[in-house]
């Protein structure tokens, strides 16, 4: 049973894909996003619910697949699987409403939706595969499928920005894939078996290859996880993708990067002080910097993307801590697990809310706002999962003597609250705009509404249903509430101040870095590199052409030879003379 579910988890979406393609082929154009399509993540979800988080019990060996596949579930994977399949399921339901095809849609649009449907399934399959995969090949396969299919989701609208965003996404994804390939290949060739769990054992400080491989894996997954400097694709991609796709991108797919770290870095086995410090620093820079940058954005989804970077930064810094002190890691595991599920679901619902904000009829505005403010509250730690998460985290860090980090994380809370204010403000503005439009959304789509609400609730209540190895959660004490409160209030003050300062003029806007901040720099560098290579090749070609020209000049030699060949006629005339000459020469040679 478990084995069957394990097998179906990544395979079922593919089955659905093949079935719907075959169906479409047989029947011609039919409605998309059918029920079968919705069931794609269900085996995963079922598995996460039913299975024991124990590799010895829940595993599946497929010796013929790839290079000998081994899939299993441990505690961490189970949590990831649960969160991921849940998010995909609800986002799928949402998409069914969000991307509903109208009857008279153009062929072009239909085709786009069809490709969205297929790519969604592919991305999902990859995402699920990488979670359950224990052997490296399966993992890499899942990761690659997810990454490349994700591109199609990003550029779904084919808008100019969308395509540009897709390019950034793809370039960085390719960079990440390349780095991962090096890391995996290096690790696989050294490990006893090509299994994910073997990789951390390789990455010992004693191993001369340890550091390069570690860096490759760290950076390779870092692209996905939005590590500072490699994060540039996130804001652009999220802001242009269709809302449900943004939700899974931000909620599930970037978590795959985190999972990668989790599985491959020597967390809990060895210390890498320099790398750990760098990672810690990078995480904090991301957590704070993304907040500042995000607060300056004009698109709600961009704000959310920066928020994701910021939140991932916090998690990154915790991973950094794990690398600095491996004894601390067991305590950090539940913290991170809770954090990522909490963030994943809440971020998902925040994204979905953007869509609701566009599509919900005006009369539903109160409900909307109720739903709109709850996840931000959770994120800043004032509510439900957020509160428990932050308390847990700080508690662990305090105990381990990482007070400075706690401070910085609290400061990151300030950034988060700034982002959330900005988000809400932008949604408010959008809603205002909507109310002034002539064409108002009239109907309410219950697929969208239902899935959003469900996600909202599940997100807020994460600690209560998530199977973690924590017996009871501590609520914050008074000091704790105070620590939670002041960043938000400070953020509020800053937000109001900013609003007051900027309401008169929009001059500040031109000082805002463009979406994706460093992307511009990268693009510039990339173009320069391309130009250099082109120049090099052009030079080579020119040299070759010169060579050809030189060879062409040899043709005159050929003409000369031609002239000589005409001489054969004269030669015929002197045959007897030549004969005699040769006779004398040969006699001379023989006689000498």
């Amino acid at each position: 049973m478990i084995e069957a579910l394990l097998f179906l988890t990544p395979v079922w979406p593919l089955v659905v894909l093949v079935c719907s393609a075959a169906w479409r082929f047989a029947k011609g154009e039919t409605a998309s996003f059918g029920f079968l399509w919705l069931t794609a993540p269900l085996p995963g979800l079922l598995l996460a619910v039913l299975a024991e988080p124990d590799p010895a019990a829940s595993f599946l060996e497929l010796p013929g697949l790839f290079l000998g596949a081994l899939w299993w579930l441990d505690e961490v994977r189970l949590v990831f699987l649960l969160m991921t399949s849940l998010l995909w399921l609800l986002a799928g339901c949402y998409a069914r409403g969000y991307l509903k095809v109208s009857q008279g849609a153009k062929d072009q649009l239909k085709a786009r939706l069809r490709s969205f449907e297929y790519l969604w399934l592919l991305t999902l399959a990859g995402n699920l595969l990488l979670i359950v995969a224990e052997d490296i090949a399966s993992f890499y396969t899942g990761f690659a499928i997810m990454t490349f299919s994700g591109y199609g989701l990003v550029i779904h609208f084919r808008s100019h920005e969308g395509l540009a965003a897709g390019r950034s996404y793809l370039y960085l994804a390719l960079l990440g894939e390349g780095l991962l390939l090096i890391g995996f290949l290096g690790a696989a060739s050294q490990a006893a078996e090509p299994l994910m769990s073997q990789i951390p054992l390789i990455l010992e400080p004693d191993n001369s290859l340890g550091l390069p491989l570690l860096l490759c894996l760290l950076l390779g997954f870092g692209v996905k996880a939005g590590l500072a400097l490699l994060h540039v694709w996130l804001p652009v991609a999220h802001s242009v993708a269709p809302t449900p796709a943004s939700a899974v991108l931000s909620g599930a797919m970037i978590k795959a990067g985190l999972l990668g770290w989790w599985l491959t870095l020597p967390l809990g086995t060895s210390n890498w002080p320099e790398v750990g410090q760098a990672l810690l620093l990078a995480g904090l820079v991301a957590a704070l910097g993304a907040g500042l940058l995000g607060a300056l954005q004009f698109k709600a989804k961009a704000v959310l993307a920066y928020s994701s970077i910021s939140q991932m930064g916090m998690m990154t810094s915790l991973v950094g801590v794990g690398l600095l002190d491996f004894t601390l890691w067991p305590a950090l595991v539940p913290v991170l697990l809770l954090f990522l599920v909490h963030h994943g679901l809440n971020k998902g619902s925040l994204f979905l809310a953007v869509g609701m904000n566009e599509r919900l009829p005006l009369r539903w505005t109160p409900l909307l706002w109720l739903g709109l403010v709850l996840p931000p509250l959770a994120l800043v730690g004032w509510l439900g999962s957020g509160t428990l998460n932050k308390t847990l985290m700080k508690g662990v860090l305090y105990e381990a003597g990482w007070q400075p980090l706690v401070f910085w994380l609290t400061l990151a809370g300030l950034a988060t609250s700034l982002l959330m204010f900005r988000y809400l403000w932008l949604l408010y503005l959008a809603r205002q705009q909507l109310s002034q439009q002539e064409k108002q959304p009239q109907k309410i789509n219950f697929w969208m509404l239902g899935s959003w609400l469900l996600l909202l609730i599940l997100g807020l209540l994460t600690p209560w249903w998530l199977p973690l190895s924590i017996d009871n959660f501590l609520w914050p004490d008074q000091q704790g509430w105070l620590d939670l409160a002041w960043p938000v209030l400070a953020g509020l003050v800053l937000a109001v101040l900013a609003w007051a300062l900027t309401r008169r003029s929009s001059a500040w806007q031109k000082w805002v870095p463009p979406l994706g901040d460093l992307l511009v720099v990268y693009r510039y560098l990339g173009l320069g590199l391309l130009k250099g290579v082109r120049g090099l090749i052009a030079g080579w070609d020119a040299a070759m052409q010169q060579l050809v020209a030189w060879l062409g000049s040899l043709k005159s030699l050929g003409l000369l030879m031609d002239k000589i060949s005409y001489q054969e006629i004269a030669w015929r005339r002197e045959a007897a003379l030549i004969f005699t000459l040769l006779l004398v020469v040969l006699s001379g040679l023989l006689l000498l």
Binding site: M561, D562, S565, E568, W571, R572, A575, A576, I578, F579, L582, L583, V585, L586, S587, L589, L590, L591, L592
Partner: protein, 491 residues
């Protein structure tokens, strides 16, 4: 079977008697029954040849004293491995050429009645040369061969052919006289003319060496070795196709055959390495000049004729590769040289026949006319294409095997410069052969304007080409023939 072969009388003289009778019959009867006569005699000759092969395999080298007079008084016929190989190739090529001519000559009714006697005389004289070991007898054989060949070239009586025949005749005459002068010196000095008997006797005095030089030059002129090749391209290029085939395949080889016998069988003590290198250099010149000129030609048959000039150059490499080198290298060169001769004979005959068919089909002599040939006349082209493979020395063909042996010999004797000649020559030959191939793929018309030659014409060329190719696969057999000849020849 073997006892039967042993009991059969020696058939050597029949190789000469039969074609002479053929010549007389066809001369006496004119055009009457010409095909029947040809068929009967070709059959008889082939049968004789076959039996001789069996006898040779069983008994080894065969000797035959004509008129029961022993050397030095009489003349002895000798059939060793090389001679047997030559006789066999002659039978095959001439038979195929006859087959070709029997149809081709329908266009030349007036030439017909004199073609067959001349062909028979050519065959007879070739066999005379292969079998003879007597220097003066070889002279008579060469004259007979030369005059019949000239006659064949001039047969159509057209201006170009006539000019070519005249030039050919004058070259042949000069060559014969030089050869005869050498014979005179040898006879005066040694009192006998038998090559095997002379082989132990020849001394390194000025008279002998000059005699050798004179004979060599005479034979080189007749073999058309660069730069004395100038008579060959017109003679071979302008003659009728079966005649060209015969001339290129066999006639020029006859004088070369004598040359090799002279140098490497009788005169090995007399010749010096520098002279051998000189011969090789002439060969190299032939390879490059012939290849170059072949490339520059616009007429198909002239191209093939120049190709003969080039290919003859390879044969000359046998001298530097056998004089003053290790026995291994000499053995390889010996086998390689003869194999090249055989392969070229088969392939070139096929090529000339095919070229003749193509020219017949195109109704024009130049290469441009080949456009569309690949589509409408695949069979006429096939013979040319297959023969080209051997001429280029590409595997699997006799030409390749021969070049391989020569290359190995060059390597084993440390004379790397001949490697370059062989390699460069192969490249050059590919250039001119593919120049022809290439034209066949161009199609400027959808209409088949060609005259379609009879299947018999195509078949005779294809058969020879296939033989040249299969020589590459079964080259171990001729190699066995040639190898024993060397050990028997006393090198």
């Amino acid at each position: 079977m073997s006892s039967l072969l042993q009991e059969l009388p020696q058939l050597l003289p029949w190789l000469v008697i039969l074609p002479l009778f053929w010549a007389l019959f066809s001369l006496a009867l004119g055009v009457l029954y010409r095909h029947w006569i040809a068929g009967v005699f070709i059959f008889l000759l082939l049968a004789t040849n076959l039996i001789l092969i069996g006898q040779w395999l069983l008994l080894g080298d065969l000797y035959y004293s004509l008129g029961d007079w022993d050397v030095p008084l009489g003349i002895q016929l000798r059939l060793d491995g090389v001679a047997l190989a030559m006789v066999t190739v002659t039978s095959l090529v001439t038979a195929a050429c006859s087959l070709h001519a029997s149809t081709y000559l329908d266009d030349y009714p007036r030439a017909q009645q004199y073609f067959w006697p001349l062909l028979a005389f050519t065959w007879a004289s070739l066999n005379v040369i292969w079998l003879s070991a007597d220097l003066f007898n070889l002279y008579v054989g060469l004259e007979l061969l030369g005059l019949s060949a000239v006659g064949l070239v001039a047969l159509t009586g057209q201006t170009e052919a006539l000019g070519a025949a005249l030039r050919y005749l004058y070259a042949a005459l000069l060559g014969s006289l030089a050869y005869l002068l050498g014979v005179a010196l040898i006879y005066s000095g040694y009192g006998q003319l038998d090559l095997p008997a002379l082989s132990g006797l020849l001394e390194s005095d000025a008279s002998t060496r000059l005699a050798l030089a004179l004979m060599t030059l005479g034979l080189l002129l007749k073999t058309a070795i660069f730069p004395l090749h100038i008579w060959l391209p017109p003679a071979h290029g302008k003659a009728l196709p079966p005649v060209s085939a015969l001339l290129s395949a066999l006639v020029v080889k006859a004088s070369f055959y004598i040359l090799v016998r002279l140098w490497l069988e009788a005169g090995l003590q007399v010749v010096v390495p520098s002279a051998a290198q000189f011969m090789g250099a002439l060969g190299a010149g032939a390879v490059f000049w012939g290849g170059w000129m072949a490339w520059r030609q616009t007429e198909l048959k002239m191209l093939v004729a120049y190709s003969t000039v080039a290919q003859l150059g390879y044969l000359m490499l046998i001298f530097p590769l056998m004089v003053g080198v290790s026995p291994t290298a000499a053995q390889l060169a010996w086998e390689g040289g003869w194999l090249q001769l055989i392969a070229h004979a088969l392939a070139k005959a096929a090529m000339f026949l095919a070229a003749g068919n193509l020219v017949l089909a195109m109704r024009r002599p130049d290469i441009i006319g080949l456009h569309g040939v690949g589509r409408f006349l695949p069979f006429s082209l096939l013979g040319f294409g297959l023969a080209g493979v051997s001429i280029m020395g590409l595997p699997p063909s006799g030409g390749f095997m021969a070049k391989w042996l020569l290359l190995q010999s060059a390597l084993a004797s440390g004379q790397w410069w001949w490697l370059l000649v062989l390699a460069g020559g192969s490249a050059l030959s590919a250039v001119y052969i593919f120049k022809v191939y290439q034209q066949c793929y161009i199609e400027d018309t959808e209409v088949d304007n060609f005259r379609h030659p009879s299947l018999l014409l195509d078949l005779s060329s294809i058969t020879l080409a296939l033989l040249a190719l299969s020589l590459g696969i079964f080259s171990a057999w001729p190699q066995a023939l040639l190898a024993t000849a060397l050990s028997g020849g006393g090198v």
